[in-house]
Every structure is written in structure tokens, then in C-alpha cells.
């Protein structure tokens, strides 16, 4: 039974492909080619290169059996998948940031939050009892508080350098994020052995990274 693996394009994907190659299973992938599907016939594995936010969609709908995705995306999509393995790569934080000294929690005020992750932001602030209005943005989130579009932002923070360069700072860390190996729920029933094997191989490579 063949396995279909969804890999995100971009930096996370590059790291994943490196791992697959050193684990001895990703040789058929040629990152320089413009092809998006690579097949390893001898091992019966098919790799698909997708936009990172689409990995979950492909896995959840069973087009891919397993995939690599950041926990941020998994939370935002509230995906009905298995979160089988938490990797040592793609580590960062999902945080609330804003102009230095900005208060986040204010009773009776609706906080304006600009973010790529409106669902996650909504749930987080709900649990804290703070009413918010989300403003969905697709990039350059840091600009929103500076230009007065929002009070704060909710975004991925790795080093904090981008924030600093734009006069912002982390006001509160929300969640620890890392890359995860996810699996379709039904695929996992039919291909448990194959899926566990590939995770075992990758986890060995994953330990070496830190």
C-alpha cells in the first residue's frame, strides 16, 4: 500500500527534505526542479510539494496520508487529524505583540487584533475573557499597530528582530509552536504500519537537530 506525503514548500520543507534524504527515503525529491510531485517507486512513497497552509487541507481530506505542518496552522484550522509527532524543527512562538507598553487586557474595551490567525486569536482571548475584533491580514502584520489599523497583533515570533525593527515588542507569549507530522485519521487505520515506520525514520534524524 503506497504512502502519500505532503511537504510544505519553503524553509520548513527544505529541512524536512533534508531529513528525509538523510533517513534514506527522500532521494527522488529534486528541490531544484519545478515539479511538484515526486515518486519513489521502489519504496512506494509519493511526495507532494504544497503551499504550507495547504498541507493540512490535503491531509484532512485524505489526498495525502501524512504531512508536515506547523502547529500554528493546525490550531488555526482546528483540523480533524492526528498529531502524531512533534518535531524539533520549525520552533517559534505565537505571541501577542504591540507598541511598547501597550496594555492587552482592558475591561469593557474591544481590542482590535490584526493577525493571520483569527481563529486562534479569538479562542485565546475568549479564554482570557477579553473581547476582541480580529482583522485578518496576510502579511506585514507588524504594520497594523503602527499605522493604527489595530491595537495589537498576534503573530509568529522567532527572534523578535522584525518586531524590534518596527518598534514593537512581545506583550505576551501565547503558544509554543513547532513542526508536526500529521496524519489523516482514516489513512492511519489502513496504513498504520507504514506511517509508524516513516515517523520512526524521521524521528531518528529529528533527534540530531537542535
Amino acid at each position: 500500500m503506497g504512502l502519500t506525503v505532503a511537504i510544505p514548500k519553503g524553509r520548513l520543507g527544505e529541512q524536512v527534505i533534508q531529513m528525509l534524504k538523510s533517513a534514506g527515503i527522500g532521494q527522488c525529491i529534486n528541490e531544484k526542479s519545478r515539479k511538484l510531485i515526486f515518486e519513489d517507486e521502489s519504496k512506494n512513497i509519493k511526495y507532494m510539494l504544497l503551499k504550507n497552509s495547504d498541507v493540512i487541507t490535503y491531509v484532512e481530506n485524505g489526498v495525502a496520508d501524512i504531512g508536515f505542518s506547523g502547529k500554528d496552522m493546525i490550531m488555526e484550522n482546528n483540523a480533524d487529524i492526528y498529531e502524531l509527532y512533534k518535531m524539533n524543527i520549525g520552533k517559534c512562538k505565537l505571541s501577542v505583540a504591540g507598541i511598547k507598553g501597550r496594555k492587552i487586557f482592558m475591561e469593557d474595551t474591544i481590542l482590535k487584533v490584526a493577525t493571520k490567525f483569527p481563529n486562534t486569536a479569538k479562542k485565546y482571548f475568549d479564554s482570557k475573557g477579553q473581547k476582541i475584533r480580529t482583522i485578518k491580514l496576510n502579511g506585514s502584520i507588524e504594520l497594523a499597530p503602527i499605522l493604527g489599523l489595530s491595537d495589537v497583533i498576534v503573530d509568529i515570533v522567532e527572534t523578535g528582530n522584525t518586531l524590534k525593527a518596527n518598534g514593537l515588542e512581545v506583550l505576551e507569549d501565547m503558544y509554543d509552536i513547532s513542526a508536526m507530522i500529521i496524519s489523516n485519521r482514516i489513512s492511519y487505520k489502513f496504513k498504520r504500519k507504514e506511517i509508524k515506520e516513516i515517523i520512526e525514520l524521521i524521528s531518528k534524524e529529528d533527534v540530531n537537530i537542535d
Partner: protein
């Protein structure tokens, strides 16, 4: 610390609401009359085949009612998502709902007038209704309920019927069995508070081993946690599970669950490649208590059959009456069977 919150945030989305029910429209829309008639004929044939089969197996047909009383239903179906039910108001200003769950409707109808020693083997075909964010979705459902009988073979017989239904339509089917007594017993011995209970259950639902380990490491240690930490190894063939259970903590309820599964495994010993077990199975309906079954067909991305034993559900009406049943996702089945044509 933060990763714990990751899960807190998911609680509200809990498992109890039938997940992702809303994502797709259940009813197909056709552009051409011809296509609609064709589809209707296929559905008619499929329905009749399964109904005939269930009838031959000794199940009696019952027609489920579409309307239920809101207050009454809410009381017994505590996990019902109030926002999702489709409500109607009658002349006396009483609120009615279009049924969101047929099993609950049947139990509600019969339990209040239950007579001792009654044994019912029933099947139904009906539609369930729910609001999704855009519209009201209508879903076809067929199912089997076996109420009042519990001897050594009841679980096996019902499971056998379920297997035969899927077998009729595909050779590439797979059944997955669990027993809610195992997880229930395990969770009891861990004596979590409500928040931890939900979070742990959520992590189990997502098979998130590392975060489960992290989460448990922040809680006071209990012996039962050793089993909880290994719960994701308790899946696969029954033999594997028994092997992996060695040396792990088990209480009486958990042992009872294993014993029930062991009996089933003995009976279906020749079909071991079609039956797999998962002791971490979390049922989306809290009323299951005992065997949980799921049936899949390769090529479909949904559970084709869902069911289990729900004795304690009947208890809400008075005496505890043994009951087990399953439902068939007939909309999904027809899509899978006629994948190319539809």
C-alpha cells in the same frame, strides 16, 4: 507551560459535537433532472438492499420521528449543541426541533414506556438535521439498535451484522474496535479535575503523544498514568495490544473492557486482518459504554459505520437496559460506491 494552553484552547470545540458535521452539504444538488433521477434510483436501490438485508437478519423496521420536543431532548441528549439544532415553534409556543440524532429519539420514545423482558431488534432509515454556518443540512442515516438483550453473543451478533453490511459493498473494508470501559477506567484512576480530564482526552483524540507526556508531567503522579503514557501503543492487532499491556497498570473496569474485546477477537479469529483494535478510541458521543465500533472502506475519507454499546444512556429513564447499535453513513456510502459517476 504554553503548550498546555494550546490544548485548553481546543476544549470548547470538544469532541462531543459531531465533528466537522457542517463542513459539507449533505444533499447533492443537480443541474439536470436526469442526473437527479439517476441518483435517486441508486439511493433507492442501496437503501432497499440494506433494508432487506437487515430485515433478513431479524431486525424490525421502525420509522423515526422527525420532530422532537426541544426541552425533553435537551435534557437527555446533554451533549447536543444548542446552536446547531433546527428549531420550530408550534401553536402553543412550544419549541420543537428537527431530530439531530435518531438513536436518542428512539430511546426517548421507548424507554419511558419500557416493559420488562422486552427485546427489540430494530432498524431505521431517517434524516437528521443540523444548522451549519450557512444553511440547514439534511443527512440520511440508517441504523440498527438492539435493545433489551445482552447475552454473551449480543455484541458479536450486532458487530457481525455491521461487518456484513460493509462486506457487501467492498472487499477493502476495515473495522476498528475499542471499549470505552478501558479509557473510562483509566481516566477514573488518574482522578483528573474536569479541565485536565478534557485536555487529556483531547490530546488522546489527536494522538499527540509528546504533548500528552508534557501535560502529565505537570500533574501529580498516579500509577495509572503509566498506562496513559503508553496508550498509543495499545492499538493494532489484539495480540499486540495484550503484549503491550504487560506490566501496565489496569483496574477492574479496564480489565472488563479487555475481556469483552477478547471474546470478540476469539470469535472473529479468521478475520484478523479486517479487524483492528484501538484502546485509545474516544467516542464522540458520551453515551457509549462498552464496545465501540467503527467501520471504514478504503477510498472514503469518512467513517462509514459508527456505533457501540450505550447501556448507561437508557439509565436516564429509569432501569438500566442493555442497548447496542450502529449507524451507517449512507450518503458517504453511495458517494464511495459511485465515485466516478456522481
Amino acid at each position: 507551560m504554553f503548550s498546555n494552553q494550546t490544548n485548553v484552547y481546543k476544549i470548547n470545540e470538544m469532541l462531543w459535537t459531531v465533528r466537522k458535521y457542517n463542513k459539507e452539504r449533505a444533499n447533492m444538488k443537480f443541474l439536470k433532472i436526469e442526473d437527479e433521477i439517476k441518483f435517486s434510483q441508486k439511493m433507492f436501490k442501496l437503501k432497499r438492499e440494506i433494508e432487506n438485508f437487515l430485515s433478513e437478519e431479524g431486525y424490525l423496521n421502525i420509522e423515526p420521528s422527525i420532530l422532537e420536543e426541544y426541552d425533553e431532548f435537551r435534557e437527555i441528549y446533554s451533549k447536543m449543541d444548542k446552536r446547531k439544532t433546527v428549531k420550530l415553534v408550534d401553536n402553543a409556543s412550544d419549541i420543537l426541533i428537527l431530530t439531530p440524532d435518531i438513536t436518542t429519539g428512539i430511546v426517548n420514545k421507548f424507554m419511558s414506556k419500557w416493559e420488562e423482558n422486552l427485546k427489540l431488534k430494530l432498524f431505521y432509515y431517517g434524516k437528521t438535521y443540523a444548522h451549519n454556518s450557512v444553511e440547514i443540512s439534511e443527512k440520511r442515516q440508517m441504523g440498527v439498535e438492539c435493545i433489551g438483550e445482552k447475552n454473551g453473543n449480543t455484541d458479536i451478533n450486532v458487530l457481525n451484522t455491521a461487518i456484513k453490511v460493509l462486506k457487501k459493498y467492498s472487499n477493502n473494508y476495515l473495522f476498528e474496535l475499542g471499549n470505552s470501559k478501558f479509557l473510562k477506567g483509566l481516566m477514573q484512576s488518574c482522578s483528573f479535575n474536569k479541565e485536565d480530564y478534557n485536555n487529556v482526552l483531547n490530546l488522546i483524540y489527536y494522538k499527540n503523544k509528546q504533548e500528552l507526556r508534557e501535560y502529565l508531567s505537570n500533574l501529580p503522579y498516579k500509577e495509572a498514568m503509566s498506562t496513559l503514557l503508553n496508550i498509543f501503543d495499545l492499538e493494532g492487532s489484539f495480540e499486540e495490544i495484550i503484549k503491550n499491556l504487560e506490566g501496565l497498570y489496569m483496574n477492574d473496569l479496564m480489565k472488563e473492557g479487555i475481556k469483552e474485546l477478547s471474546k470478540i477477537n476469539d470469535y472473529f479469529i479468521n478475520e484478523t486482518n479486517k479487524i483492528t483494535y484501538d484502546l485509545s478510541l474516544v467516542s464522540e458521543l458520551s453515551y457509549y459504554d462498552g464496545i465501540i465500533m467503527r467501520g471504514y472502506i478504503e477510498g472514503s475519507n469518512k467513517e462509514m459505520i459508527k456505533g457501540g454499546r450505550y447501556d448507561s444512556f437508557t439509565e436516564q429513564f429509569g432501569p438500566k437496559i442493555p442497548a447496542i447499535g450502529f449507524s451507517i453513513e449512507i450518503d458517504e456510502l453511495i458517494k464511495t460506491l459511485y465515485k466516478e459517476e456522481l
